[in-house]
Amino acid sequence: MNNVSQQFPVSMRVLHWLMAALVLTMLGIGVAMVASLGDYNQLISIHRPLGILLLLLVVIRYINRRFSKMPPFPEGFPSAERFVAEASELLLYTLLFLTPLVGWAMLSAAGYPIIMFGSFHLFPILSRNLMLYAALRKTHTILAFLLFFAFVAHFSAVVLHTWVLRDGLFNRMAPWKAQAR
């Protein structure tokens, strides 16, 4: 055993699990609110500020990652799988950044007040343009579905590694302090 940490640093793990919980909640709220007459208003009142919080968090997380020391992949991790893992991380980061940004842009183009809470509003990042709004609204849905499926793939891969392959991959991001195998 060498003294290189086998785990992501605490800051990265905290951000990972916080965002995991919030993103899952957010995706659930997103599909529920567009299908609901009765809960639409309450859900969208949470969806808006939570989306902006996630946009902030992904920026913080990306910067934090750039300055963090990454643990090595488990011993014997095939380089093809390593490529898939790294590419899917990049995809997740991209979707986590773009989905709320497009949400903000689309509310701006629609001319809606971008209400966070109380009288605190966010400034619009685009001027009102209905055609652009329609395109961004569609893009927001597509990005959210891509994010959902990327999450499902990420989740499936981790569970597969943990339950079936049992190669200790999960320990790298485990919320607790994990012993190296």
Binding site: G28, V34, Y40, G76, S119
Partner: protein, 368 residues
């Protein structure tokens, strides 16, 4: 063992408990299906009959004879106005919204008639509507969409939808099935009760002397956090003239033409009347009025002095979502509110992406 050529199977075989692999793979599958299933449930895909904003909007399109490209799915025919609201400060004891502080805020609005056909002929049956957007000095907005009916004939979005669909012609007979309407009325005693109240109010001659009602109850919140149930209406200062039912109306746009002529003569004004509810007054039933003796607060005067065709007005691009509210006005528990917000949003999204056809009331009409 750090060999890129290793396959999944070879690595599994290298494990001591490889015999359990199938069971463990099954576990992975169940977990993933549970995630997918939860989302399908939340998104309404497992309940195809649930009335969703999209299905409600499809219903509007069906009931109003198809999609009219670029127009609102209801209240499609309209004309835009601008002006200002002069608050007298008397509403400020009920709501801390800036719009109720004494002073003036700009207003942009739209008069319309109910229905999805943007070229429908005006008639005595038309549901007249006035939608307004107030912009406070702090940038917060208050949007409200009101109609001339003193009560709404429906308690909830389901009832609205059922009644609307009962009026859709049967594909075989090309006529609505009267049994469906009978069944609706039998199941919704509030409908005829509300229609009775609506019929007891005399209809005025035009938009300019019509009172408009917010219908659903809201709550005003004052500076100390006290919340009061309220309903609001805009009562015209233009004198009431009864609609002459005998007069023939050859002009398809007579309601709009009269409004244009009237506003060109002098600015049009309405008083904002806030009806203050008692704590036990129901706030979740737009089909039943509050007792007549409720306090009424005159909160100020709306003045509308310019009129414009939708083709040139920015009001065409506004979704008059009744839940765009400033701090100091909050939704009540009326189920119509969230439903209106959701369906207006659907309608707005659909029309935003469509080619815009010319409006019935053209830029040259409003200059007459």
């Amino acid at each position: 063992m750090a060999n890129d050529a290793n396959t999944l199977t070879e690595r599994q075989v290298a494990k001591p408990n490889a015999g359990n692999t199938v069971a463990r793979l099954g576990g992975v599958g169940i977990l993933v299906l549970a995630v997918l299933g939860s989302f399908a449930y939340l998104g309404g895909w497992l309940s195809p009959k649930k009335l969703t904003p999209a299905r409600f909007t499809n219903g509007l399109e069906t009931a109003f004879g198809g999609v009219h490209s670029g127009f609102r799915r209801n209240h499609a025919k309209g004309v835009c106005v601008t002006g200002f609201f002069e608050s007298n400060g008397q509403g400020a004891r009920l709501s801390k919204a800036e719009v109720f502080q004494a002073g003036r805020v700009p207003v942009i609005g739209r008069f319309s008639i109910g229905g999805g056909d943007p070229y429908a002929a005006d008639s005595a049956e038309s549901v007249r509507a006035m939608a307004l957007q107030f912009t406070q000095p702090d940038g917060e907005q208050w949007r409200t969409a009101m109609i001339h009916l003193p009560v709404f004939p429906f308690k909830n979005p389901q009832a609205f939808y059922e009644q609307m669909m009962a009026g859709v012609p049967d594909p075989n007979t090309h006529k609505p099935d009267p049994e469906k309407m009978k069944a609706f009325i039998a199941g919704h005693p509030e409908f005829l009760r509300a229609v009775g109240i609506i019929r007891s109010h005399p209809l005025s001659s035009g938009f300019d002397n019509t009172a408009f009602y917010g219908l659903t109850a809201f709550r005003f919140v004052d500076a100390n956090g006290n919340s009061t149930p309220v309903r609001w209406s805009f009562v015209p200062l233009q004198p009431f003239v009864a609609l002459d039912p005998a007069a023939s109306q050859p002009d398809r746009n007579y309601l709009f033409d009269d409004l244009i002529a009237s506003i060109h003569k002098h600015p049009l004004q309405w008083k904002l009347i806030v009806t203050v509810g008692q704590p036990n007054d129901p706030t979740n039933d737009a089909s039943s009025p509050w007792p007549d003796n409720r306090e009424q607060v005159d909160a100020g005067t709306l003045t509308l002095d310019t009129i414009e065709s939708e083709e040139t007005s920015p009001a065409r691009e506004i979704n008059f979502d009744p839940l765009v509210l400033p701090v100091g006005i909050v939704p009540s528990d009326d189920p119509l509110l969230s439903a209106r917000s959701a369906v207006y949003s659907q309608s707005f999204t659909r029309r935003a992406g469509e080619k815009v056809e010319p409006s019935a009331i053209t830029p040259s009409d409003v200059r007459k």
